[in-house]
Amino acid sequence: MNAVPSPAIEIRGLTKSFADVQALDGLDLTVEHGQVAGFLGPNGAGKSTTLRVLLGLLRADGGSVRLLGGDPWADAVALHRRLAYVPGEVTLWPNLTGGEVIDLLVRLHGRPDGGRKAELLERFELDPTKKTRTYSKGNRQKVAVVAALAADVELLLLDEPTSGLDPLMEAVFTECIAEAKAEGRSVLLSSHILAEVEKLCDTVTIIRGGRTVESGTLAQLRHLTRNTVTAVTRADPAPLAGLTGVHDFTTDGHRATFLVDNEHLDAVTRELAALGLQSLVCAPPSLEQLFLQHYGDELAALEAVR
């Protein structure tokens, strides 16, 4: 046992381009052992490409990629025995039943399912006797999720695993991931459902245009950004607008709402106290706000088009 085990996933400066597109452009990503890592970004940001590089399906153009201490391209088969994968877009063999596909994938994985298949089928309410042709997108996804969770592995690579699931099934999925974490497995969960990431993940990596723009624990990320403050004061709160670190200041009589950069929070609350505080709500930023901070310009551009 190493004193400092290498992370489950360690990516540094990963680049990958296809014929005419630079899909990944210096991406960094770390997933520590036993952690659930969120991998955020809108469609086309490079999440699936990153996962395919981790699976040794695509060969990296540049940068370094380590997976469970190995090289995902050279040691693909050995590493695959220790991980399971749920692709973002699940297509199955239309003529096979869901149960047959799960068995096939588990067998190809080289690990007996140890009775977990039946339990997972029940939890996900999946009928294994139907041909996959007749499955909805959500049911196809369940097949891949059940096959992945049935295997006894150290690492789960999940590419938007809940995008076709209904809220009930999403809850079951959340439970399963929490259990996996409790069993000491590592999870990389790509998603654009922020609430899910907020609920499940220890760390978050936000990527944009194939590059990491933010990463760390949720607490760290929050620390870097702004709190939302809503305050009612006896005196007119207008002077607050001029303070350093205050943004998006609006008032409604004596009620003021604004954002404060974290490092200026202390100074601003002192000023607030001086104005005679009657009520104060100070909320840390939601993941959505974090996310929008990096994609705000794209949103603005979109709205401008409209």
Binding site: L92, W93, P94, T97, E100, L104, L108, G110, T129, L157
Partner: protein, 541 residues
């Protein structure tokens, strides 16, 4: 109130959006269609010019007519109109028609399935139908593209024939007849695309219909000169029965038109009745657990192709029985007609020569199957399922190796089935049990060449997946070189470009081990190259 609401909705019919779909399909397929149209046109022109130059005397044409009156000549050619005065036009109609018509039928049925059932399999049909697209529009657009492609070939063929100085009206009849036959089989695929729930099954069934039509026409024409009642059951016969360049009549083409109308109606009726993505037969439930056989890539690929393998085997058994049962007629014909024996250069046993020719057919079928089977793995890749497989502890080379193995195994099975059927039928027809071994040997020596064709597909899937369909060129060339080398007067090197060109004509010739071992080595090298390259490339690529 309600009236204004109704008026606000633009009038739409089941055919709304057909023009848009048609334009999109033409755009998407423009290169593919251009290649089909130009190559089939070029083949016709080349054959016309070539035959005109080679057979420039009446005597030479008459000796050729004698060959075409043999059962083998009839099976590979036509009902033999005009053989008593074999002009260049009659020669084209009688000998070139079958191959061009089969090629056009292939083009048509693949095209229709690609634009109907394949779209539903891929899910893009759903997207289309959710837009302002009528229920019947995708099928109609597919049929129209197919008809345009066939008419395109027809125009080039007409221009080529009439341009070479052949009678314009007869050239027109030939071109129209060929185009209509192509359209008939496109419409057959229109129907099978409704019945079958998978693109592969839809084109497979349509191909089986084409094979049956070819077999029925061949047998029917052998039973009686200029065709028996049986011949008239085959749409392929109708194009040949116009007697172009001999004693032109248009009536048989009426049958093609009627059949097109019937098939189109049936296809649309079926289309109206079923759900998008579903076939006629509601899917049944299956086992909740996989059988032990389904635990590796070989098991998976064999399972996925089970139905196709069974139907191809059945088809080749029918083909083998057909050829085998002709053995008697071949012998009788030569016995009755010493001139004919001289004409076909009857050195040695005529039934041996016929068996060798039959083996070429079996080999072409097996090669076509083998390529389709290997390319199936490329289909798995583009569909996104290969990712699912390779994310498990399955090594890439094992996956591609399994595709090669299943393809080779099934090709061998097809050849054995065809050879045995041929042998059994020939033994019975000639009352000579020795035929069994001879016909089987003739079929089996083709295997190394078929493996080379499959090897090309493996190499392409491994190294250049985007160009994998080019493996079909090898099959097409094997077909041209195998069936039309004498007709087109191809030089020896051109015949040897086809792997089948190296196979000894067993049982007419002795088994020569050297080329067979050479072919096996080439096949092994191609597969090894493909496996090595597959290890190094991106998936999906």
């Amino acid at each position: 109130m309600s009236t204004t609401t109704v008026a606000a909705v633009p009038r739409s019919t089941a055919y709304t959006g057909t023009t848009t779909l048609l334009r999109a399909a033409l755009r998407r397929d423009r290169r593919r269609l251009l290649i089909w149209v130009l190559s089939l046109g070029a083949l016709t022109v080349y054959a016309t010019v070539g035959l005109g130059a080679i057979y420039d005397t009446a005597a030479s044409r008459q000796s050729r007519a004698a060959v075409m009156e043999t059962p083998a000549g009839i099976v590979l050619g036509g009902p033999g109109y005009g053989t008593e005065n074999y002009t260049l036009g009659a020669m084209i109609a009688n000998e070139l028609g079958l191959s061009v018509v089969i090629a056009m039928a292939l083009m048509s049925l693949l095209l229709v399935v690609r634009h109907t059932r394949a779209e539903e399999d891929g899910g893009s049909a759903e997207l289309l139908l959710s837009g302002a697209v009528g229920r019947r529009a995708p099928l109609l657009a597919a049929l129209l593209v197919m008809a345009l492609a066939d008419l395109g070939v027809g125009v080039v063929v007409f221009a080529g024939l009439a341009g070479s100085g052949l009678a314009a009206v007869d050239s027109l009849a030939l071109a129209v007849g060929w185009a209509l036959t192509g359209i008939v089989f496109g419409c057959v695929a229109g129907v099978t695309g409704q019945v079958m729930t998978q693109a592969r099954a839809a084109s497979g069934t349509a191909l089986a219909v084409l094979g049956a039509a070819a077999a029925v026409r061949g047998v029917g024409d052998i039973l009686r000169e200029h065709g028996s009642a049986l011949s008239w059951l085959s749409p392929i016969a109708w194009a040949q029965q116009t007697r172009a360049f001999v004693d032109l009549r248009w009536a048989p083409l009426g049958l093609s038109v009627v059949l097109v109308a019937v098939l189109t109606t049936v296809a649309f009726r079926l289309d109206d009745r079923r759900d998008v993505g579903a076939g006629l037969v509601q899917p049944r439930r299956g086992p909740a657990a996989a059988p032990p056989s389904l635990s590796g890539p070989v098991g998976l690929l064999a399972r996925l192709q089970r139905g196709t393998i069974v139907s191809w085997t059945a088809g080749l058994v029918v083909l083998g029985l057909t050829f085998g049962s002709l053995a008697r007629s071949v012998v009788d014909m030569v016995a009755d007609n010493p001139a004919l024996a001289r004409a076909v250069g009857a050195t040695g046993d005529l039934s041996d020569g016929f068996a060798a020719a039959a083996s070429t057919y079996f080999a072409l079928c097996a090669a076509g199957f083998a390529v389709a089977s290997v390319l199936r793995l490329r289909g798995e890749e583009t569909a996104g399922r290969m990712e699912l497989l390779l994310a498990t502890a399955l090594e890439r080379r094992r996956l591609l190796g399994a595709a090669a193995a299943v393809s080779a195994g099934a090709a061998a099975l097809l050849l054995v089935a065809a050879g045995l059927a041929d042998g059994v039928a020939a033994s019975a027809a000639l009352d000579d049990a020795g035929r069994l071994g001879a016909q089987l040997a003739g079929a089996l020596v083709q295997l190394p060449a078929v493996l080379v064709v499959a090897g090309v597909a493996v190499a392409l899937v491994g190294a250049a997946p985007r160009f994998a369909p080019l493996a079909w060129l090898v099959v097409v060339w094997a077909l041209v070189a195998g069936l039309f080398a004498p007709l087109l007067d191809l030089p020896d090197w051109a015949v040897r470009l086809s792997p089948l060109g190296w196979v000894p004509r067993v049982p007419a010739e002795d088994v020569d081990v050297v080329p067979l071992v050479g072919l096996l080595l080439v096949a092994a090298a191609l597969v090894a190259f493909g496996l090595a390259a597959f290890r190094r490339r991106d998936v999906p690529a």
